[in-house]
Amino acid sequence: MTSSDARDVVGDYEAGWHDPETSTIRFDAGLSEKIVRDISGLKNEPEWMTEVRVKAYHHFINQPMPSWGNLEILDNIDFEAITYFLRSGDKTEKDWDDVPEDIKRTFNRLGIPEAEQKWLGGVTAQYESEAVYHSIREDLEEQGVIFLDMDSGLREHEDIVKKYFCSVVPFQDNKFSALNTAVWSGGSFIYVPKGVKVEMPVQAYFRINAKNMGQFERTLIIADEGSSIHYVEGCTAPTYSTESLHSAVVELIAHKGAHIRYSTVQNWSNNVYNLVTKRAVANENATVEWVDGNIGSKLTMKYPAVILKGTGAHAEVISVAYAGNGQHQDAGAKVHHLASNTTSKILSKSISKDGGRGSYRGMVTVGKKAENCKVNVVCDALILDEESQSDTYPTMEISNPTCRSEHEASVSKVSDEQLFYLMSRGHNEEEAMALIVNGFFEPFTRELPMEYAVELNKLMALEMEGSIG
């Protein structure tokens, strides 16, 4: 298939170029216990990890597909066509100059080294299965902050990893958490010591380059008592006419009084299945915030979750999803109030256009013994044309009568009068649409670091181009 054919299939996508593949190790497509063991062996992992992987693999094999989301698309995933491990660099470098030239060029093109210099406290750049670049500011290191790619994390801090790995998302949780646990590679490992407040965000960037690739990063962030951290992740992949699979597991642990903010802007090409399990535990008076932007992919199923385990803990999940032609964004949030005086806020915004489908799927539970909890859920959908679709599946299970909960949902369409008004101010139809769409996402974008907000607005303006008749 030529690149112009691919473009016909998936439309315009800015990060859709790819480099020639120059892998040093590439496993055959398909999955078996041998492949799982080989991945672990290649990484010289401790035996307990190999065993967890193997158990998870068998669980994956026996587990049925999820019964929600988009069953038609899920059933089409060909697990045998996917490559589960691909190594591109020989090791993780600390200097961009040591990163293989073509890979460095890719990250340059994505603006990562530039962002690092300007406003980040640390960067991990993952290419296919493993990190090719990693660095952290010296002052953070001196304060005892650990920021590593997950493979190095396991090597250098096995005790911490062993304690927390699978503690928030057990591999038995769902089919894709089992798959990730079996074949995980890369991702970030962060530990913030007691009382340390990391002022500058740290970032990980995940890039899939090869065809039919599976990327299974595993991220574990532990914020010790009274500490705080802002972690930012970005993702892109080339546009191919065959599918890739991205299935991450992210576990966050916020100890007493800690604050974790996890911001994602993922901009996958339209051939990526994006099936991710993200979950956090918030202990006493801790705060966890998921700021989650889903642009692109063929199917996204992602519901960042927070377990409010300690008294006074707070959860915030702000998410946006954009579903264009041939895309289904099934996204939302989950919050479980297990302790008293816990509060949660969910804001979900979705846009569907050109036949895309945006679904909000949310769950909030309040346990019997959790007194005086507050729950606030708002989900808004904006539909840009007649072919597109939006649906909402909110669930609330409140078992304690002292809970105060609010839930609002709205579905709106862009009106001709609104467009006419903006066009009378000199904005053509695409620009007018972008003003409306960016406005709709504004409660989300204002939560992002400025550089990301600008990028997201540009991205949405691009999405509005060329498709208005």
């Binding site: 009106s415 001709d416 009068e417 609104q418 006419f420 008004y421 903006l422 066009m423 009378s424 101010r425 000199g426 904005h427 053509n428 139809e429 620009e431 007018a432 003003l435 409306i436 960016n438 406005g439 709709f440 996402f441 504004e442 409660p443």
Partner: protein
């Protein structure tokens, strides 16, 4: 360009659906002239405003509209705006999430193009216009018309008029829903920005004409200009209503 007819409307017919609303409008507005267009509800006043701005719901079936000789009916709404046509809306639309300051900056840059002021000059223009309209700085951080009172919406329209500096300003019922103080303020804004432009003020009432001085007054009845004159015509309408004119038309 002085003395040249800026806007020329000749025998303009327009319909919405199957209903003809404009039935042959003739009107010429020159640079620096302020025209008032008066008429009852449903006479076609607002339709004329929307047709001039290119609202997609209205279809022009006959006649022509030119701005400095250029046929504008062929142009898209946003092209007309960039050419220097401005419409102050009777019912301005809200755009949640779009901040007023950001919207003004973007609109000024598209409409005024190469002549758009640089950041610092823009700020100066903006501050001065906001001061004239007694608009608080907080206004800039609010979302366009979202949760605005009637008076705030009209102030934002006039703020845009002042910053976009059009050649032709059409003000559709800018006075409706304003108390007397707000009306006075808004009129100051209008007077400050239309001295160099051609201006068409569409209104029900004589009231606003006490604060902006029209050179000409036209009365529209059933899609046609039934009478034109000086400011005295507006006063006569205020005293005697529209009946005496309608009798003439209906004969």
């Amino acid at each position: 360009m002085s003395g040249k007819g800026v806007l020329e409307i000749v025998n303009l017919h327009a319909k919405v659906g199957d209903e003809e609303i404009l039935k042959g409008i003739d009107l010429t507005l020159k640079k620096g002239e302020l025209h008032a267009l008066m008429g009852r509800n449903g006479s076609g006043k607002s339709t004329l405003a929307k047709v001039l701005m290119g609202h997609p719901e209205y279809e022009v079936t006959d006649g022509s509209v030119t701005l400095d000789g250029e046929d504008i009916l062929e142009l898209e709404t946003w092209e007309r705006a960039r050419l220097g046509i401005f419409l102050s809306f009777q019912y301005p639309q809200s755009v949640p999430g779009l901040q007023v300051g950001n919207f003004l900056r973007k609109s000024v840059s598209t409409v005024r193009g190469d002549d758009a002021p640089k950041a610092r000059d823009f700020r100066r223009e903006l501050n001065s216009a906001m001061e004239k309209l007694s608009v608080d700085k907080k206004f800039l951080g609010r979302y366009v018309n979202d949760g605005f009172s009637g008076g705030e919406k009209k102030r934002l329209e006039i703020l845009q008029l002042m910053l976009l500096k059009p050649q032709l300003a059409i003000l559709d019922e800018t006075d409706s829903g304003l108390d007397i103080d707000a009306l006075r303020t808004v009129a100051t804004g209008i007077n400050a920005s239309v001295s160099d432009a051609a201006c068409l003020i569409i209104t029900h009432y004589q009231r606003i004409l006490d604060y902006v001085n029209p050179d000409y007054v036209h009365v529209i009845i059933d899609g046609k200009i039934a009478s034109s004159g000086g400011p005295e015509l507006a006063r006569k309408l205020e005293e005697s209503g529209y009946e005496w004119l309608e009798e003439g038309v209906n004969e």
